[in-house]
Amino acid sequence: MSKINELFDSELRVINLGLESFSEELKLQKKEVVHVEWRPVAGGNKKLRNILNQLG
């Protein structure tokens, strides 16, 4: 079975990054969701961001 078909047969468990309202609406539907308090890596500094991303 493909991974997408496995998803179709599974309970959806969501990690939400960005608009908080999307998390809240999933919670209203009693779905499992973790909201990430997302901030740009390295305060948005592109050079630093690339270095950090390469470091994993």
Binding site: S2, L7, I15, F22, E37, W38
Partner: protein
């Protein structure tokens, strides 16, 4: 009156939250104009246009938070900042007190069994973050826009290699295993699977499937550019594969704007080999080509829903071109409106929040209307010089970038459409306004309620000028949606709005009136 500004270096806040804070502050009587935002080039341009670009604000970078306002001398900046802090904290604590990790990696420690990541972060950061999610084996829905075509291609190719969904960018609608994500309606479960490249088009088809007694297995969004040549339809093809193998899906519906010809062929070659019946709506595209590959072509979003439900029930699908109600009754309604116009009323104004619904309106109307102005017209000669001012017959998509700079999308905050409605009501040459009303998760909690006063005012203005304003609408919503469908429809009917069962029928009704008065 004076200018006041405040800068906080290296502090990040979500742009939508800051827009809401700006909106709250604007309600203060002693503040004339205000902008609360990050020091992005866009926000600085906005500040300049509002006359709020102080030297301090000019010097900010996109990592800096700023407040700039013009107000009475009595405005105390410390008090304003206290209010902003309170509003930001309110936004933060409006949900529950769950632990909020700061990164995807730490979120996975809290929820190791997570299977989908939903991104609505600024587009310029999306590539790196989505790549990390795919690395972790998560399916992705990418709501963010401003992602380059090259980044989209790389992400989709990588997702394909890993066998994962990468829905987006700019993907507004998906329903996975009966869970609506982002902007989506609550649809009854059933045997129809959709792969859609057009957000509100997909919402309209799924809502009408529900209305016609059918149901949905899955709705996969691809993002609007999936069927463009550089991307090659990667996600639509993966969606077809998955729905073909899905036991609960018996009929597959594909929705997109007309694709690049080579991509249309590639998709239709796959459709031809599909073991399941496929209904294809390449909105306004070549129906004969679709038919030649053994699929059912469609002439409207409503027709796509009708055909999908017919096939799902084992019936033979037929073209649906008319009205649900008796055409004689429709003509009587048309006549009743026409009789009330003054002699100078001859124009139509379409005020849409749903992009695909606006496209469909323009497609149907342009069959008989030569000049139809828009912010995204079919032909460049009909592009509005000023998108904030309608001209002759006009249909605008209020969700396009030029309307949403510094403001939430009109499906989230319909107030800009309310103002536009009043503006159209002051134009004595206007006979009717056509609009959509999109319900479901993601949308405003009471979009009809937000429009009522504006519609009443527009109608009253027209009446005081000796005319009559017809307002025609269709509600894209189901009984299961969090907004109350029945109450929404009743509110609109109570103030004389003519409601049609679908966007296509609303447009066709308007078309009948236009043919009578032009």
């Amino acid at each position: 009156m004076g200018l006041k500004s405040y800068i906080k270096k290296n502090a990040y806040y979500d742009s939508v939250v800051l827009m809401q804070v700006t909106k709250e502050l604007k309600k203060s009587e002693d503040i004339k104009e205000v902008i609360v935002g990050m020091g992005t080039p866009l926000n600085k341009e906005l500040a300049e246009n509002l006359g709020l670009l102080t030297e301090d604000v000019k010097a900010t970078t996109q990592n800096d938070f700023f407040v700039s306002l013009e107000g009475e001398d009595t405005v105390d900046m410390d008090q304003v900042l206290t209010r902003i802090t309170a509003l930001l904290n309110k936004k933060k604590t409006s949900g529950d007190q769950d632990y909020r990790p700061a990164t995807l990696k730490s979120a996975l420690k809290v929820m190791p069994e997570a299977n989908l990541a939903l991104f609505s972060i600024p587009g310029e950061y999306a590539y790196d973050e989505v790549k990390k999610a795919l690395d972790e084996g998560l399916h992705v829905m990418l709501f963010s826009d401003n992602v380059t075509m090259d980044e989209e291609k790389k992400l989709k190719d990588y997702a394909k290699e890993k066998g994962l969904l990468m829905m987006g960018p700019d993907c507004g609608t998906a329903i996975i295993n009966h869970t609506p994500l982002a902007f989506a309606n609550v649809i009854k479960p059933g045997n129809i699977g959709i792969v859609g490249a057009s957000g509100t088009g997909t919402q309209e088809v799924s809502v009408l499937i529900d209305k016609f007694g059918g149901g949905i297995s899955q709705v996969i969004g691809t993002g609007g550019r999936d069927l463009k040549e550089p991307i090659g339809g990667t996600m639509m093809l993966m969606g077809i594969d998955a729905l073909e193998d899905d036991e609960k899906t018996e009929v597959i519906v594909l929705i997109s704007k007309p694709p690049h010809e080579s991509i249309a062929k590639k998709i239709l070659e796959r459709v031809k080999k599909c073991k399941k019946t496929v209904v294809v709506d390449f909105i306004g595209g070549d129906t004969k080509m679709i038919e030649s590959y053994g699929a059912h072509p469609c002439i409207s979003l409503e027709d796509a829903a009708q055909k999908a439900v017919a096939v799902a029930k084992g019936d033979t699908p037929k073209d649906f071109t008319g009205f649900t109600m008796d055409e004689g009754a429709v003509d009587e309604m048309v006549e009743k409106e026409v009789q009330q116009y003054s002699s100078n009323q001859k124009y139509l104004r379409g005020l849409y929040t749903g992009g695909t619904l606006a496209d469909e309106a323009m497609m149907i109307l342009s069959e008989s209307m030569e000049a139809l102005y828009s912010n995204k017209p079919k032909s460049p000669e009909f592009k509005l010089a000023d998108v904030f001012k309608s001209r002759e017959n006009t249909v605008v998509d209020l969700g396009e970038d030029e309307f949403t700079v510094g403001k939430p999308h009109p499906m989230i905050d319909p107030s800009a459409r309310g103002e536009r409605m009043k503006q159209e009501g002051r134009d004595e040459n206007v006979a009717l306004v056509l609009m959509d009303m999109v319900l479901g998760y993601g949308s405003h909690q009471d979009p009809a309620g937000e429009m009522i006063e504006s519609i009443k005012e527009a109608k009253a203005t027209m009446a005081s000028n000796g005319g009559h304003l017809t307002v025609v609408a269709s509600v894209c919503g189901t009984e299961g949606d969090p907004q109350d469908l029945e109450a929404t429809e009743q509110k609109l009917k109570d103030i004389g709005v003519i409601l049609m069962p679908s966007n296509a029928q609303a447009v066709k009704f308007v078309d009948k009136i236009m043919k009578r008065i032009s």
